[in-house]
C-alpha cells in the first residue's frame, strides 16, 4: 500500500521524467530516471520481504511475581511478555508491533509497543504490566503489526491473531471476624458440621424414648430405665453439614453496563453483575473457610446451570471460573437498531481484522453506494425524509425507467388503436398522451436527478454507514458460517445483524452500551422470564436438599412485582421444609441507596454529599430524582413482600462491604439454627 508520502513522491518523479523527456533535458531525465529506478527498487524490496511479516510467530506469557500463570485475579497486577520471532530467511522491513491488551485490564507500566527491523531468526520483545479489572475474561487478541520501508513510502498492516483467553477470577476477601477453620474448643463441632435437632448419630443428647426392638444396646439409658422400670433409649442429635446454594442472576438486567467514569483513554463500564459475582465469591470463600458445602446455580431468562454443593479447592476454583465466565457475558437484545453498535464494531474490526476489510476481498460496489443504497428493513416506522430518500433510491430509478417505458409504449398502443377504431375520444386521449408523456418523462428524470443530487450531498454519513454495514456483514457472515446468502440477509434484516454484532463484540470482550428502551418506550432488559427459571431452580434445589439448607438468591427482582408469584411459591416450599432463604438484590451503580440500606454514617454522609453535588440541568436532576424514587419504591415493595414470609432482603449496593453482607448471612444462619 502506497502512502500519501509515496504518492506525492511518485507524482513528482513522473512529472520530472515527463518534463525531461518532453522539453527535452538530459540532466532532468537522468534525475527522474534515477529516482524512479530507486523507487521501484524500494518497492520490490518491500514486496519481497512482506510475506515474512505475515509469518511471524508470537509467544506470550503472563507472569505473576513468581511464575507463569494461567488464571488471573481481579485487582492483581501481572506482567505480560510477548515475543515475535522471525522464522524466515529474509530480514523484515521496519515493523512496529503493538500487543493488543484486553479491555478488561488496565495498563500499569512498561511498553506494549516494539519496533525495529527484525533480521532472520531474531525477535522483538515487549514487556508490560497490567492490573486486572473486575472478574471476567481477559482476551488477548494478538499483535497488530505495521510494516513500512525506511522512507515511509510503502505501508502494510497485519494483525497477528494469537488469541489467549485467561479467566479473571474474583478476588477472595478475607473476613477478620471469620471463625477459624480449626476446632478450638471441645464443645465445638468440627468445621463444616452443624448440630441439627433431628434424631441422628451425633454426640449430643436430643431426647429419650421407649426402647424399640432393633435399637442398639449401647444407646439404652440404664439409669433411666431402672428408674422407670422399662427400657429407655437415648436419642442423639444429628450432626450435618450446612449446605449453602447460591443462585446468581445472569440475566440481561444485571448485565446492562453503565458508565462509571472515564479512564485514561476509555470509559469504564460497571455492571450490577460485577457486584453479584464479588458477593458470590465472598460467600463461597466464607463457606469454604468453615467448610460448609456450597452449591452454585447460574440462571438467566433462558435457563439455569447448576453445580451440586461440594467443598474443596477444585470445586471452589470451578465455581470461580464459572462466575468469571458468566461475568464476562455482555447484554444481548434483539430489537436494537444496529446503528448504535456499527461505529464501535467497525472501528474494532479495522483494528483486529484489517486483512478482511481489504477492497480485494471485501468490496463495496460504487453503484450500491451512489445509486442503490440498501433498505435494511427496519423496525423504525418513522423515517426522516433524507433517510427515506437514501433507502429508496433504487425505487426512484425504477420509477424513471417505468415512466420512460410507458411514455414510449402508450403512444404506440394508442396509435395502433386509432388505426383500428377512429373515435373522437380516442383522438383526445392520444393528443393528451402525446403531449404529457414526454413532459412526465422529463419531469420524472429531472426530479430524480435533483433528488439523487440531494442525497449525494446530504447522504455522506449514510453512505459511510452503508459501507461499514456491508463490510461488517461480510465478515460476520464468514465468521459465523452463515449460508452463502448470509451476507444479503444481514444487509436486509436489522435484527439478525444487530444480534450478530452483539455476539461479535461480546466474543471479543469489547464493552458496549445498548439503549435501555425501545422506540415505543418499553424497557428492554426487564427479563421477567427469569423469575420462573429461578423458581424452578429453587424448587429443584429444595427437592435435592437434605436438611438445613441455606439458599442465597442474588437476583435482580426490582420492578418485577407482577411476575413474582412462581418465586414466592417456591420460597414458601423452601421455608416449609425448614430451609432458609436470603435475597440479595443488586443495586444500580451510582444510584442513591434506599433509606433502609444506609447503615453506616459514613455511607449516609457520602450519599448525602452525592445528592447535594448532583449537577446537571433541571431536567436531568428531575429525571434522576424520578428514577431514584422509582427504584426506592420498587425496593420497598420487594422487601415488604419477602419479609412477610420471613426472608431477609439485603441490598447489594456499591458501598456495602462484602464482610458486612457475609456477617449478616452468618447471623441469619446462626439464628435460624436451634442450639447452635
Amino acid at each position: 500500500m502506497l502512502t500519501s508520502r509515496g504518492c506525492w513522491f511518485l507524482l513528482c518523479v513522473l512529472l520530472i521524467l515527463s518534463l525531461g523527456l518532453l522539453r527535452p533535458s538530459l540532466p532532468l531525465t537522468l534525475v527522474g530516471l534515477t529516482l524512479l529506478l530507486w523507487f521501484a527498487g524500494q518497492w520490490l524490496w518491500f514486496l519481497v520481504r512482506l510475506p515474512g511479516v505475515r509469518q511471524l510467530r508470537s509467544e506470550r506469557e503472563v507472569w505473576d511475581d513468581r511464575s507463569v500463570v494461567a488464571t488471573l485475579w481481579a485487582g492483581q497486577t501481572f506482567e505480560v511478555r510477548v515475543r515475535l520471532i522471525n522464522e524466515g530467511w529474509l530480514p523484515l522491513p521496519h515493523v512496529a508491533a503493538e500487543d493488543y491488551s484486553p479491555f478488561s485490564v488496565d495498563f500499569v507500566d512498561g511498553s506494549n509497543l516494539a519496533q525495529g527491523t527484525v533480521a532472520a531468526h531474531q525477535q522483538l520483545e515487549m514487556t508490560y504490566r497490567i492490573r486486572c479489572g473486575p472478574a471476567g475474561l481477559a482476551r488477548f487478541e494478538g499483535v497488530r503489526l505495521q510494516a513500512a520501508d525506511w522512507q515511509g513510502f510503502f505501508y502494510h498492516v497485519h494483525f497477528l491473531h494469537a488469541v489467549v483467553i485467561l479467566p479473571i477470577l474474583p478476588l477472595l476477601t478475607t473476613r477478620p471476624s471469620q471463625p477459624a477453620s480449626v476446632k478450638r474448643h471441645n464443645l465445638l463441632l468440627p468445621p463444616g458440621i452443624h448440630r441439627f435437632r433431628r434424631p441422628g448419630s451425633g454426640s449430643e443428647l436430643l431426647d429419650l424414648r421407649d426402647y424399640l426392638p432393633g435399637d442398639p444396646p449401647k444407646t439404652i439409658a440404664w439409669k433411666v430405665s431402672a428408674r422407670r422400670d422399662r427400657l429407655i433409649t437415648k436419642e442423639f442429635e444429628s450432626e450435618v453439614p450446612v449446605r449453602c446454594t447460591l443462585f446468581v442472576d445472569m440475566s440481561s438486567s444485571v448485565r446492562v453496563p453503565t458508565p462509571s467514569g472515564v479512564g485514561s483513554r476509555q470509559t469504564r463500564y460497571q455492571k450490577a453483575l460485577d457486584r453479584l459475582v464479588d458477593l458470590a465469591a465472598g460467600v463461597l470463600q466464607a463457606n469454604a473457610g468453615i467448610r460448609d458445602l456450597t452449591g452454585l446455580c447460574l440462571f438467566d431468562e433462558h435457563g439455569a446451570r447448576n453445580i451440586a454443593p461440594d467443598r474443596g479447592s477444585t470445586h471452589r476454583t470451578e465455581c470461580l471460573r464459572l462466575l468469571a465466565e458468566a461475568a464476562a457475558r455482555q447484554p444481548g437484545q434483539q430489537c436494537i437498531n444496529p446503528a448504535h453498535l456499527l461505529p464501535l464494531a467497525y472501528s474494532f474490526a479495522v483494528e483486529i481484522y484489517p486483512e478482511l476489510l481489504r477492497p480485494g476481498v471485501n468490496s463495496v460496489p460504487w453503484a450500491m453506494m451512489w445509486l442503490d443504497g440498501f433498505s435494511g428493513y427496519s423496525h423504525r416506522l418513522r423515517l426522516g425524509f433524507f433517510e427515506l430518500l437514501h433507502r429508496h433510491k433504487s425505487a426512484l430509478r425504477t420509477l424513471c425507467w417505468w415512466t420512460s417505458f410507458w411514455a414510449l409504449v402508450l403512444p404506440v398502443v394508442l396509435l395502433s388503436a386509432r388505426v383500428l377504431l377512429r373515435t373522437r375520444s380516442l383522438d383526445n386521449v392520444l393528443l393528451f398522451v402525446l403531449f404529457f408523456a414526454p413532459l412526465s418523462v422529463f419531469a420524472t428524470w429531472a426530479a430524480s436527478a435533483f433528488l439523487f443530487g440531494v442525497d449525494a450531498v446530504a447522504g455522506i454519513g449514510k453512505r459511510r454507514r452503508d459501507r461499514w454495514r456491508k463490510q461488517l456483514a461480510a465478515i460476520l457472515s464468514v465468521r459465523y458460517r452463515l449460508a452463502p446468502g448470509g451476507l444479503a440477509t444481514l444487509l436486509e434484516d436489522d435484527d439478525a445483524f444487530s444480534l450478530l454484532l452483539q455476539r461479535f463484540l461480546s466474543e471479543h470482550q469489547v464493552p458496549y452500551t445498548l439503549p435501555l428502551y425501545s422506540p415505543e418506550g418499553r424497557y428492554l432488559f426487564a427479563a421477567p422470564e427469569k423469575v420462573s427459571v429461578l423458581a424452578k431452580a429453587l424448587v429443584r434445589a429444595v427437592g435435592k436438599g437434605r436438611d438445613n439448607e441455606l439458599f442465597v438468591l442474588l437476583a435482580d427482582l426490582l420492578e418485577l412485582d407482577d411476575a413474582l408469584d412462581p418465586l414466592l411459591r417456591a420460597v414458601r416450599v423452601a421455608l416449609g421444609r425448614h430451609h432458609q432463604v436470603v435475597l440479595i438484590c443488586p443495586w444500580p451503580p451510582g444510584l442513591e441507596l434506599p433509606p433502609s440500606a444506609i447503615r453506616s454514617p459514613r455511607s449516609a454522609s457520602r450519599q448525602g454529599a452525592k445528592r447535594r453535588t448532583g449537577g446537571g440541568s433541571r431536567t436531568t436532576v428531575l429525571w434522576d430524582q424520578l428514577t431514584t424514587r422509582r427504584f426506592h419504591l420498587a425496593y420497598q415493595r420487594l422487601r415488604r413482600t419477602f419479609t412477610r414470609m420471613g426472608v431477609a432482603v439485603l441490598c447489594a449496593a456499591e458501598d456495602e462491604p462484602i464482610p458486612l453482607i457475609l456477617s449478616r448471612l452468618e447471623r441469619l444462619r446462626s439464628l435460624g439454627r436451634p442450639h447452635s
Binding site: 532532468l28 491488551s101 519496533q115 476481498v361
Partner: protein
C-alpha cells in the same frame, strides 16, 4: 456517530526508547542518527548548488538548496517534492527548447557529463536522507485519523507532564539507525545512479534502436517503447505481487472473496428476497405480540 477515537483497551502506551518515554524534538535533533542524516542532506544540497552553478544558473542555483534547507529545518513533509519541483523548473527553463531550439532530434548521442551524474547523486542522496529524517522526526507510518496526533500529544506532554503518550510509535526510533544502515546507503547511492546512467545509455543507444516502423518519428517510437516496457514490468510485478498475496491468504480471506463474488453477482435478487422474508418475519412477530 463516528469512531473518532480508536477502539482499544485502556492505556495503550508506547515508548521509543528504553526509558519508555519518547524523546522530545530538541533531544531528537542532537541524536547521532538524526545528525548524520541532516549532514547528508546538507552535503547533498551543497553538491546540488555546485552542479547547478556549473550549468550557469547564477544565483538561481541556490533556490532548490534554499528550499531544501528550509524544509530540513522545519521538517516539512513536502520538502523533497518542493525541491524536486523547483529543480525541474530550473532545469526545464534552461533546457535547449527554451533557448529556441525546437525539437533538436533528442539528445540521443549526448552522453551524460560528470556534473549530470553528480547532480543525480546529490538529488538521490538528499531525497533518501530527507525522507529517512522525516521517518525519524515526523512519522514513518501514515497517521491514523482515529488516533491523537503526535504533535498534540507532545504538546500535552510538555504542558501536563504526561508520562507516556499513545501513538508515538508512528516515528521510527533513532536508536534503531546503525552504522550498517549508513554504510549500506553510501554503497547503494552510486549503484542507483550508475544503474540509471546505464539504463539511459542502453535505452538511448543505437544498438537496440533498430528500424523505426511505419515511418513514425523517432521520439514517438522511443516513447512507445518506454511506455510499453514500463507497463509490462508493472503488470508482471503486479501479477507476482497478487499471486503472492493469494498464496499467503488465510482461509477466511479466501472465503470472504468467494462470498463477495457471489453477492456482487446476485445482490439485487438476494436483496429483494431477503427484504420480503424480513417483512414476513416482522409481520408474524407483530401479530404474535398483538395476540
Amino acid at each position: 456517530m463516528t469512531p473518532t477515537s480508536r477502539v482499544g483497551p485502556a492505556g495503550h502506551r508506547s515508548s521509543n526508547s528504553e526509558t519508555g518515554v519518547p524523546p522530545m524534538r530538541q533531544e531528537m535533533r542532537s541524536h547521532p542518527a538524526v545528525l548524520n542524516y541532516t549532514l547528508l542532506c546538507l552535503a547533498a544540497l551543497f553538491l546540488m548548488v555546485v552542479c547547478l552553478a556549473d550549468r550557469g544558473l547564477e544565483w538561481w542555483c541556490v533556490v532548490p538548496s534554499l528550499i531544501g534547507g528550509l524544509t530540513l529545518l522545519t521538517n516539512w513533509t513536502h520538502g523533497p517534492p518542493m525541491v524536486l519541483l523547483s529543480l525541474a523548473g530550473l532545469l526545464g527553463m534552461t533546457s535547449p527548447r527554451s533557448r529556441g531550439n525546437y525539437w533538436p532530434g533528442w539528445s540521443r548521442f549526448q552522453t551524460p557529463t560528470l556534473m549530470d551524474v553528480l547532480l543525480c547523486f546529490a538529488v538521490l542522496a538528499y531525497v533518501v536522507g530527507h525522507y529517512r529524517l522525516l521517518s525519524l522526526m515526523r512519522h514513518i507510518f501514515p497517521s491514523d485519523p482515529r488516533r491523537p496526533r503526535p504533535e498534540s500529544e507532545e504538546r500535552d506532554r510538555r504542558s501536563k507532564e504526561k508520562k507516556q503518550t499513545p501513538g508515538s510509535a508512528l516515528k521510527r526510533s533513532p536508536d534503531l539507525v546503525n552504522g550498517r544502515e549508513m554504510a549500506l546507503l553510501g554503497f547503494a547511492l552510486p549503484i542507483w545512479v550508475g544503474l540509471a546512467v546505464s539504463v539511459w545509455a542502453r535505452v538511448m543507444g543505437r544498438a537496440i534502436l533498430g528500424e523505426v516502423p511505419l515511418g513514425m518519428p523517432w521520439t514517438m517510437w522511443r516513447a512507445l517503447q518506454i511506455v510499453w516496457a514500463s507497463l509490462a514490468v508493472l503488470a508482471a510485478a503486479g501479477t507476482v505481487a497478487g499471486y503472492l498475496r493469494w498464496r499467503t491468504a488465510t482461509p477466511e480471506e479466501s472465503l470472504l472473496y468467494l462470498q463477495d463474488q457471489l453477492w456482487r453477482q446476485t445482490r439485487r435478487e438476494q436483496g429483494t428476497l431477503n427484504r420480503w422474508l424480513t417483512w414476513a418475519r416482522l409481520r408474524a412477530q407483530r401479530k404474535k405480540e398483538s395476540l
